[in-house]
């Protein structure tokens, strides 16, 4: 096949949204709403629990110059699975899937053969060093195990062919790497990927998953891993040293916690502690001329508890394609999610929520056909079979009136999910949104029975032709001052060279427009609402000025 016609897989950030149709009277919509709400509470609480676990075992150190030297996390581990990790890290196949290229991952597992229930794993999340580090040969001597061993608090450094045994404890270091030798004088840094962390935690972490449904476990681990690595990234950049939020995610629990804070405030008999904003956050108010740094800020812990919202921030739940299959039944689309999978039969939540009415679809399975995207991707697995783990929820109508055909036709959402030739489903995200007060109702007022509604956002990918690099390239950079700068270059004998370059300064009208844009960006950066009438008018005015100027 000619190179120009060859196709490659491209992940595109395209999303189609399908709102859950939880409307009408009776017990069924109530149960659907309760299940969706419970799923989001579960993911929030699980991530919160995992982050608490991470926080207890998190350690980092900085050098004298302020740069981050390393960041580790020690967690309780399951023993007896070493073989799998070795396979995971040294075998090429899983490495390729988990994108381990251009990095190496270090992980330690410590255990006592006499007490198999007590084991720990240490993961080096970030490692930085100056100069050369040879990872190809006797790597156990190159990696400084000392901090890690000291962190365990039970071991001493006695390397012996990669295994260290002290006082009946064993520690094994496992790593995977592709780059054998790194020779650079400047600071090198290595950071784990969220995928590796998720895989390692799934294999090793000793965590009580019994009361958590399977659809939540993977996404919770991934989100917790991402938040931890994001924290490490911020530490590296010196931005923010506070650990990711582990606040209460259960709405009922959060309200109770907040009410307790209100009572504590009402009981206060000593007053509050105040500090200047500069003392409280020296980095933010480093400029001594900034007057805002001199104002007094209440730093009392109880007041901080009281000041946070009584309503928890809801997390979204990312579901893999096999956990969120869309079916068609007549003109309506349904989403199937195995919400009770992984829970015991006598689990309290299962008993409370799995009402017989939820499984109304058991006697209609032949009427459901999977949408082509899932059929193509999952094959026979996409077929619906009766079970007591899965719920089927209707999605809102996605039909538009066609004047030409004189009937309702499929909308964007449905058409995208039918398009199996070039599109592929990647992930679906379940999120909760506040119901709009003036939203159009399809089922009378019953649509607004609940204060919130749920929506599934389907991320889809598609194939596109491989991009060929042209002989000459022009690069254009848009900024505020100058407005446009550009450079044209080509590659001669493998070396890039610049042929021509220039810039466009702009004019007064453009400047004023860009100033307004900067102001808008600043406002949006402060999380202020920028979609109001005032800003709309400003934008319209600038656009008119620009179009009338013929520039």
């Amino acid at each position: 096949m000619p190179k120009a016609l060859r196709k490659r897989r491209e992940i595109v950030n395209s999303t189609v949204q399908g709102a859950w149709h939880i409307a009408g009277g009776g017990i069924l919509p109530e149960l659907h709403h309760a299940i969706a709400s419970w799923l989001l509470t579960e993911i929030g609480e699980t991530v919160s629990m995992l982050l608490t676990l991470f926080q207890n075992g998190f350690k980092y150190e900085r050098r004298e110059d302020g740069t981050l030297e390393f960041a580790d996390v020690i967690l309780p581990a399951k023993v007896g699975k070493l073989e799998r990790l070795i396979e995971l890290t040294h075998d090429n196949t899983p490495c390729r899937r988990l994108e381990f290229h251009n990095t190496y991952n270090i992980m330690y597992v410590a255990w006592q053969p006499e007490r198999p229930t007590e084991a720990y794993m240490g993961i080096r999340l970030y490692d930085s060093y100056y100069g050369t580090r040879n990872l190809g040969g006797d790597w156990i001597n190159d990696i400084d195990l000392l901090e890690m061993i000291e962190f365990f608090g039970i071991l001493k450094r006695e390397p012996e062919n990669g295994v260290i045994r002290v006082d009946n404890w064993s520690i094994e270091a496992l790593m995977a790497h592709n780059e054998k030798i790194r020779k650079r004088a400047k600071l090198q840094s290595i950071q784990h990927s969220a995928n590796f962390l998720q895989a390692a935690l799934t294999t090793y972490l000793d965590f009580n998953w019994k009361k958590i449904p399977e659809v939540v476990r993977g996404p919770a681990l991934k989100q917790a891993a991402e938040q931890l690595l994001s924290h490490v990234g911020k530490l590296k950049d010196g931005e923010n040293e506070s650990f990711p939020s582990i606040e209460e995610r259960d709405p009922e629990g959060r309200v109770l916690e907040w009410q307790d804070a209100v009572r504590t405030i009402a009981r206060n008999t000593t007053g509050f502690e105040y500090k200047t904003a500069r003392e409280n956050d020296p980095r933010k108010f480093s400029n001594p001329e900034d007057k805002r740094g001199a104002r007094l800020v209440n730093v009392d812990k109880d007041w901080a508890r009281f000041s946070t919202s009584p309503f928890p921030r809801r997390m979204s739940l990312k579901l893999t394609p096999d956990n969120s299959i869309v079916y068609r039944r007549s003109n309506r689309l349904y989403i199937a999610i195995p919400v009770f999978k992984g829970l015991a039969d006598n689990d309290k939540k299962r008993q409370k929520l799995s009402h017989r009415k939820i499984f109304w679809w058991h006697s209609h399975t032949s009427e459901f056909t999977p949408m082509p995207l899932w059929q193509e991707q999952l094959g026979k697995k996409a077929n619906l079979t009766p079970n007591f783990d899965t719920i089927l929820l209707p999605l809102q109508y996605d039909r538009k009136w066609s004047k030409e055909k004189g009937q309702f036709v499929a909308g964007t959402f449905e058409r995208t999910l039918c398009n199996s030739r070039s599109w592929e489903i990647c992930l679906s995200t379940l999120c909760e949104r506040r119901a709009r007060s003036g939203a159009q109702s399809f089922a009378g007022n019953t649509l607004h029975r609940f204060p919130t509604y749920f929506r599934s956002d389907f991320a889809v990918g598609f194939d596109m032709p491989e991009a060929e690099i042209p002989k000459r390239i022009i690069g254009i950079h848009f900024s505020h001052e100058p407005v446009i700068s550009w450079v044209m270059g080509d590659i001669l004998d493998g070396e890039p060279r610049v042929l021509d370059q220039g810039m466009i300064i702009g004019n007064e009208i453009l400047d004023s427009g860009l100033e307004a844009q900067v102001r808008l960006e600043e406002e949006a950066g402060k999380l202020r609402w920028t979609g109001g009438r005032e800003f709309k008018g400003v934008i319209a005015q600038r656009t008119n000025d620009l179009s009338n100027a013929n520039c």
Binding site: V262, R263, I265, A266, N268, G271, P310, F311
Partner: protein
């Protein structure tokens, strides 16, 4: 002459108003005790309102009703009262505790 007297009266009014608006801690122990009790009642009213209606809460609302200021002022007043009269201070603490419990009972009812 009229102008001068008008100006003087305006200055007096402004100073008087300003002095009235400023929150000062009374000198006598009994007045401090009374102020602490008054503040307690107001604080508890706000707390009850927030507890029973978390939907309408946000930080600015708490600032608007002056909850932070009132709690802090009560702390200062009680600190000063402790130095001046320990018995009254203890009585004030008992009242604060009982007010909270009454509020709790009301909420439960």
């Amino acid at each position: 002459m009229t102008l001068v007297s008008t100006l003087l009266s305006i200055i007096v009014m402004v100073v008087f108003q300003r002095k009235r608006s400023m929150t000062t801690i009374p000198r006598s122990a009994q007045a401090k005790f009374d102020l602490a009790c008054r503040l307690t009642k107001e604080i508890n009213a706000h707390a009850e309102r927030f507890t029973s209606n978390p939907k309408h809460f946000h930080d600015r609302q708490a600032k608007k009703v002056g909850l932070e200021k009132k709690v802090h002022l009560r702390g200062i007043v009680l600190g000063a009262l402790l130095k001046q009269n320990e018995d009254l201070y203890k009585r004030a603490l008992v009242i604060i505790k009982s007010e909270i419990e009454t509020g709790k009972e009301k909420a439960h009812a």
